[in-house]
Structures are given as C-alpha cells and as structure tokens.
Symmetry: D2
Subunit: 297 residues, 4 copies
C-alpha cells in the first residue's frame, strides 16, 4: 500500500470540477492537482492547476479521470470545457503503477490498453451505490420537469410510473409526498408487493392499458418500447410524458408529437440539474473504493 495523499483530477464536465472542489473542502490535507477541468467554475484555492500530465501523474496516488473517460469516439481524455487535449495513452505513460485510477464509462479497449501497462482503471459507474445515489438527482430533475410543464398541482394528480428500479423507487416516494396518486406498473410480483408497501398502486404490466386514460403524468423508466402509438392514444391530450430510460428509450416520440402529446426525453439529469451534488456523489463513491482497497484508512 502506497501512502495515499496526492490526487490528480483531469478533464470532465462541470461535475468533475465540483468533485475537485468537494475534495478540497474535506479536511484531509490531500494534495490536489487539476488539469483540463471545466472552465468557468471557480476552483478552491487548495487545488493546484497544472498544464502537463507528466508533472503530476508520476507522483499521484489517485488519478480521477472523467465520465465518460474518452471524448466522443476518440483516444483523447474527455475534456469539453478545456482547450487542452491529452490522449489516454499519454496519461498511461506517466501513471504510477501502484496508483488507484478511476473513471466512468470505460470502454473495453481502453481497459485493455491500460491493462497492458499494468494499470487497472476502475469504473465507478459500475458501483451500485453510485447508481443508487444518482437516482436522487434524477428523480428531482423529473419532478422539476413535471412541476414546470403541468398546469395542475402534483397534489391530486394521477402519475403512472413504469418500472420499479432505483429511479422509480425514489420518484414514486417523492410524488407520493406531493400528494399525487401514484400508480406503478411492473412485471414482477415482488416489485408489485414493494409498490403496495410503499403506498402506491401496483399494476401488472399486462393491465397497464386500463390505467392510462386516468394519467396526468406518465414517467417511463424502462429502456424498452412500452409507449408505442397504441398506448399513447389511450392517454389524455393533457397528459405529460417524461422518458427517463436510457437509449433506446421507451416512448415513440414521433407518434406522441402527432397525437399532440407533450413528451420529454430527459437523459443525464444529475449533471444537468445538480452538477455540484453529482460531483459529490462521484467523490463519495471514489472514497468507498479507496476504503475498500485500503488506500485510505
């Protein structure tokens, strides 16, 4: 185990800069180097900006690379808020073999490329607590959209959620707190039992259609085409649809438009609605990993 105290934080969108600030706000006395962070976000004075990876990577105990790791389709570290470009290869050249290296959405080829150099890139996106904690800003973002778009209060509104994964659980709880009538559509009996226990109305997927006409708000969390035209026509014209499912999504937006339904595909909400919190969540996850590996006490 190396003596962990120097962090390098590279690239990324505003979340990564907020992560650096959150790290600097801790009272641990870490050395923090930053490079290619998103410009326009004021950094804590404890953070030392540098311009060359070889100045910092060799002595870094922890290297925090961005989410996603690489810029679109490329070899370069993703750094949309910086003019500087650096390839993953260049980083790997200087990373200390005992350093803990973290990133999000690491493609297999990048992992292999690193492995060849004896470097393991840990993908924090695969950590369950990361996904759990990110369900909160996602759910809050969905509530924000609903509050903005609906001409009625959530109090008393009929909201239908499809799926009962992490985001749906948090969202159903929030909507219930607003006094909405919440229907959750799922397929598994155990999920439906939980829905019931949570004070929402459980509906088996096979019976979803019957409940669509009453909905004021539909939120899809299932990445599977549940809302094709036949389902959409059952909705009230005033019903708002929010699709939180990652690609390919679950709503036929073309059909919705034709039917005059307002539908919004809301992706990557945490970074959009709460970038500071998103940075903190990433940092917390990284610390869990460091704890597990004994890299910090």
């Amino acid at each position: 185990m190396i003596k962990t105290k120097t962090f390098s934080i590279l690239g990324g969108d505003p979340r990564q800069a907020h992560l650096a600030n959150a790290l600097a706000a801790r009272e641990d006395g870490f050395h923090i180097y930053a490079m290619m962070l998103y410009e326009g976000i004021k950094l804590n004075k404890k953070i030392v900006r540098v311009d060359d990876v070889k100045m910092i990577l060799p002595q870094s105990d922890v290297v925090v690379l961005p989410l996603p790791l690489l810029s679109n389709g490329g070899e370069e570290i993703n750094a949309p808020g910086s003019q500087r470009k650096v390839t993953l290869e260049e980083c790997l050249n200087y990373i200390h073999p005992e350093a803990v290296v973290l990133a999000g959405k690491v493609p297999p080829f990048a992992r292999e490329q690193a492995a060849k150099r004896g470097v393991e890139i840990i993908d924090y996106l695969e950590r369950e607590e990361f996904t759990v904690l990110n369900a909160v800003p996602t759910a809050e973002g969905a509530v924000e959209i609903a509050l903005r778009e609906l001409p009625i209060t959530l109090f008393g509104a009929t909201c239908l959620i499809t799926g009962y994964g992490r985001i749906a659980k948090v969202l159903a709880g929030l909507l219930r707190s607003f006094g909405a009538k919440v229907i959750v559509v799922a397929r598994k009996w155990s999920d439906l039992a939980w829905v019931n226990v949570a004070g929402c109305q459980p509906v088996h997927l096979s019976e979803m259609a019957e409940h669509l006409p009453a909905a004021d708000l539909v939120i899809n969390t299932v990445p599977s085409m549940l809302f094709e035209e036949d389902k959409l026509t059952l909705l009230k014209r005033s019903c708002l649809i929010i699709d939180l499912a990652s690609k390919p999504g679950g709503v036929d937006f073309e059909a919705a438009k034709t039917l005059g339904l307002k539908a919004e595909w809301a992706l990557s909400l945490p970074g959009k609605v709460a970038p500071i919190t998103a940075g903190v969540i990433t940092l917390d996850t990284i610390f869990n990993i460091l704890h597990e590996r004994g890299a910090i006490p």
Copy 2:
C-alpha cells in the same frame, strides 16, 4: 331559497376559465353561462358564451365574478383576456336580488355599492379553506423554483423557512420529503413546538442569524423586512432566496443584488404554476359557500 341551477361566470384570468370548465365537468346538470373569460382556453361544450350581461344575470342563481373583482383602480370587472368591458354597476343592475354573488378581493367601496342594490358580494378570498388549499400550489411553485435554480439536490440541502403559516407548513413538509434539512424560524413557542413535531428544526426568530451561514435556500413567508443587508451578508454567495411574502415582502432585493445573491420574489404562484388547480380550488370554495347557504343540497 331559490332553485339553484344557473351559473354565470364572468371575466378573470385563466383560472376563471378553468373554473368554468371544472363546473361543467361536474355531473350536476347546471346551466353555465360565460362572458369575458380569458381567451385562448378551450371551453367545455356545456358552457354557453354570451356577450351581454342582461341576457344572463337576471336569471342566474349564482354569479361568479373574478379575482380580483375589478380591473386596476377602476370600475370595470377585471377581464384581462377579453376585449369586452363591463362595469360593476352594469352587472348590479341585472343581478337577481336572491342570487348568490361571489368574487375575490372585493374592495370596500364595491361591497357598499352592491349593498345599496341589496346585493351581497361574498369574497371567497376571506374563506380560510381557500387560503389553505392555495398553500399547495404556492408551495409547489416554490419547490419548482428551488429545483430549477439550485445546482445541488434538495436532498441534503439546508433550507431555512421564516414563518409557520399555511404556506410554510406545506412547504416545510415538502422539503422534508425531499430529504432536505429544514429549519423553521418563528416567534411563537407553539409554532416552534409544531415545527419540532413536524420533524424540522425550530429556531426562535431571535436566533435566526446563527443559522443563516449554513443555508443553501432561504424561503421567506413573512410580510415584514426580515432580510435586510445585515442578514443577507451572513448568507453564502451560493444561497438562493425565495420571497413568498405579499407586499411589502421581506427581502431587500437591492442589497441582495449588490451582494451577488440570487433572490426571487414569487407572488401569486397558484395562478401561474397551476391555473387549472387554482380554478378548481376556487370552485370547491364556492361550493362550500353554496352548501352553507343551503343554495345547493
């Protein structure tokens, strides 16, 4: 008691039109006449539009005038979404003496003017249930602003609310449901006891200053200047301020601007964020009044 079945609904902003629609959606078989409603809102087919008060008022059992009753400083019925102008005097000429006449924000002179004609104008704004029910869209509107403006989640945020009247009660409950840490500042020990029971942190007004530095969100509901410069300087630069207090408000917005604080004075939220619900709330209140007077069973 006259046989109540004909309603006339006049003027008003979108809420009044939605009120008419909500009335038409009831299964009571009322006759509904409308005049000078807000244009652009599609009306239920059961509503008969007319263009002359003398065609409808003499046989109307219930006359629903708008909120506020009169256009700014004038004699005319408030009708911002209509070209037609009608004075209160003209209405009074035709209202049946046994009709139940309702409006919001009725100035004393209008009340007297009506009384001279033997007409009592009931101000539903003075009904406590109206104010209670409107606390919901107001609180939802404040939450919407907070979700939109804050770069952090409400989950985990420190929110300080001043006052513990109707709106503050609903708002404190909502923010708690989001997982915020909610501090409520009040003056009365019984209010502070309720704050405690509601799971929030009670702080006596005399000790508010100590709690300001931790706040991520401040929501004022007290119509008294609680946030002058001396208080505002205690806030973090990233703190968002929402003032829900009616005039004169409780925040020195000039000072806030100078200090670089984001502050929003959010008035009349129900009509803005949930006009349909606001119409329904008015209608429910009107029905309570009609019940009490035996005008409907």
Copy 3:
C-alpha cells in the same frame, strides 16, 4: 430579576421525578432540590432530596409544583408517590416573592390563595406548546392500543378519526405513515381543507354515518357524545373504538359493550406511555416560560 439558579421540585407522579432528572442532565449548573417525588424512580446524583419545605423554598428561584397541583379535592400538594404531606398554604408561607412558581391544573381558589401572598402560580397546562408537544405521546399511545388490539395491520386498515385538533393532526399523520386509509370527520371547512392537504379523506360531520361501516378503527378526539347507539350499530363488530376525548368523552361505552364492540377510553396517555418524555415536555415548557420572563438568558 433575581439570579436564577435554584430549583425546587415537589410532589407529582413519575413525570415530575423524570422532569427533575432531565433538569439535572442539563449542563447549566443549577442547584436542584427535590421533595415528595415519586418513589422508586432513581434520581440523578445532582438532585438533593430534602424533607422540609422551609429548608428549600425561601432560597428557590424556581418552584415546580406538580400536575395536578393539589391532591384530590384537597388542600395538599399532590404527591401520590410519597408518604409526606404538605399543604399549599405551607408552601406559600416559604416561597420567595420573586420566585417563578409553576404548576399544572391550578384551580381558581389556589390561584387566589397564592395571589393573596403575592405569589403568581403559572399554569403550564395553559401553554399551547405544552399541549402541542403532548399530542405526540398521546398519539403514540393510541397507536400502541390499535396495534395491540387489532388482528389486522394498520397498513391497509380504514381508520376514522373525529375532530382535527392537535392530537388528531399528529395521529392522522402517523396512521397515514403506516399505510392506513385515514378518514377525518370534522365540521369546519378549513379543517377539512387541511385534512385533504394532509393526504387524508375529509368528511363533513353531517356525512359521518355513511363512512362508519367501512371502519376498522374509530378514534374519537371530540369531547361530545358523537357515538351513541345509533352510530355504534353502523360499525362492524370487529371495529375497535378508542376514545381520546377528556370527560365526558364521546362514546356510549355501555351501548358499545352491549353491541359487542371493543371500546377503550384512553385518558392521560403521555404520563402512562412515555413518562420520561412527559417530564421533558414539561421541563421544556417551563424553560420557555423562564426565557420569556427573562429569568434565564
């Protein structure tokens, strides 16, 4: 203003002894004398037991007398857990005229008797925050009874509460948290509006009878005979009735028994179900009073 630091605590049931302990647990360095406290409750070592009022009352800045102040119908300080007897008169002889004197349920004649000696006895039972805070143990006690007596879960049970005062508000919230369907019967439209906002079903008193057949649990909080035989016959035989109303209560228990209904009149729950908390609540209320009077900073 005298320098407040010596407390005398006299008589009372277990709550008063717990009050003394809670006072001793504070870090304020008060001198605490106790006399005639309920035996069998272990006292904090900082509390000095004495056996004679004249040893402590003359130098006491705060005198805490019990709730109720006097023993049944008598002249003596209520002290059910002590062999020693002392009259109010005897106490008044020694109380310092500038002392703050507190008690609960002070009958008018005792107040006058004290006034003649220039002593004001403050009745903390009249403080609204005292009543608010005591609603919590009362509501918890009612929930305990329901959990113990009902052969079904509160989750999914239909609970009908009459009245919407302090206890009913806390209780309705708790039952909702259990996932019960909560109906609240009240008379005032504003109360019914709050019931609605709280996520419960509001029912006007005039329509209560229609909702009785569905109830699994009825909780009365109104001190007025709402449940006479005609209403009781509408209930299911398995329905549990809890009457929380002070005398004369709101349930005809004889009729209930004849009908085979289980009915419980649960009075003075705080002292029974949570005597320690009840002592703390009294102490908190006393401190509010002392603050207001400038007797402590």
Copy 4:
C-alpha cells in the same frame, strides 16, 4: 388446465382459517371446503366443513396445506387447532394429479414423497412477494413492542437497526415517520446508499460500536451473533433490544439479562400480531401463483 373452482383448505393456525374466510369473501364463486381449521374462529357461511379428506381432495382444483406443512417432526399435517389427525400420505392418496397444491415450509422429504405420487407441492414461503408483504406485520409488531416497553416516545428516540433487508427497510421507514432518529448498520455500500436516500443515518458495520451508547432502541434483523457481551456493555441500561432475526438470532440474551438489559426475541410476528392480515397475504400470494400457472384468469 383444469377448470379451477374448488378449493380445499386444511389445518394450520388461525392464519389458515382467516385465509379461508378471505377466500370466501371474494366474489369469485369458488367452492371452498375446509378441514381441521383452527377452532374458535368463526367461518364464513360459504365454507363447507368436512371431516374426511377423501370427500374433498379428489375434486379439488386447489389444495391449500398449512404453514408449516407438517406437525413437529412428524408425518401429520400441521393442525394445532383441531383434534383430527391426517398424514401427508393420506392426503397424497386423494389429491388429483392436476390440482395445484400449496403449502409453507415444505421439508425436502415431503416434497419428494409428493413427487413420487406425481404431485408438486409449491412452497409459497419461497415467493419473494410473500416475504415482502410479511415485512409489514413484522415491522408493525416490532413497533408495538417498542411503544409498549419504552418509557419515552419514539419521536426523538435514537433507534439503531442492524441489517437492511425487507423487514429493516419497512421498519426504518416507520420509525422515521414517528420522528425517531434512525441509524442503520449494514455492510454493503449500496445498502448504505439506500439508507441515506431513505433519510436514515448509514453506519458501516465496522463502526457500529461508536453508535451504540446513544441508542434508546436496538433492533437486530441479522441472523448472526452481532450483539455479544462486548457490544451489549456499550448500551445504556435503559436501551431496549428487539431481535427479529430467525434462529440462531443475533443477541446473547444471557449476557443481556446479566447486564440488566431488557431484550426480546420476537419471532413469527405476523401470525401473532395480525393473523387476519397474515391470512390475506398468504391468499394473495397463492393467487399470484395461480395466475402465473394460468389456473385462474
């Protein structure tokens, strides 16, 4: 698929009799035969009592055997509230090969014995929704114990729960609703993330000891000896311990007794605190199974 409409319900504790009643209360027109049900529970008139398995089993489409299936260590169907004894063998002799046969806690040898006759016994105890739904009466039962035993309110109490499985999740939510401070001790980071999202304080198992001194209530849900003497000595003498873990449990009750700690091992709560609900839960689970098998539409 056979035409499902005749049910036979045999043996069991009060839950089984309530299950039969709940089945009879449905409007499906089933034929319901009962034998060896728990005496003393009044049965719905639609239920036909019989005294001989060969009269009912051959024509039964669904056979509901008890939980546990067999009497202690024996060959006989578990029927603690009946004089009649019947062996599993005898039942198997008459069960129609196409019948759906359900029971709880089916030992492997019984399963094999049935399989030899071509009968599959489905164990509803293995259904996840059954366990989820039973978490509710278990949690309510634990709350009942806490309310009964603690001399303080749950409001404001510090409650420490170990484990974050189904029961702990429901219980943590309930205790939070009471206004308790809830600490949940778990080992997995994702569980701790959920604890956080649920508004409770997450504590890693490795740091549990630090939090024990503050606890007013400890509830163990982990079937592993977490509370040996070294941990128990860290608790306040007034702390209440409730062990909900199935055998071998998680508390050293001998050590607790020696230390003067009140500790209760609460097993099989659903049948004890809410037998009617427990019957309904079993019935609901059985209907899910019948749906899945196409035995009912």
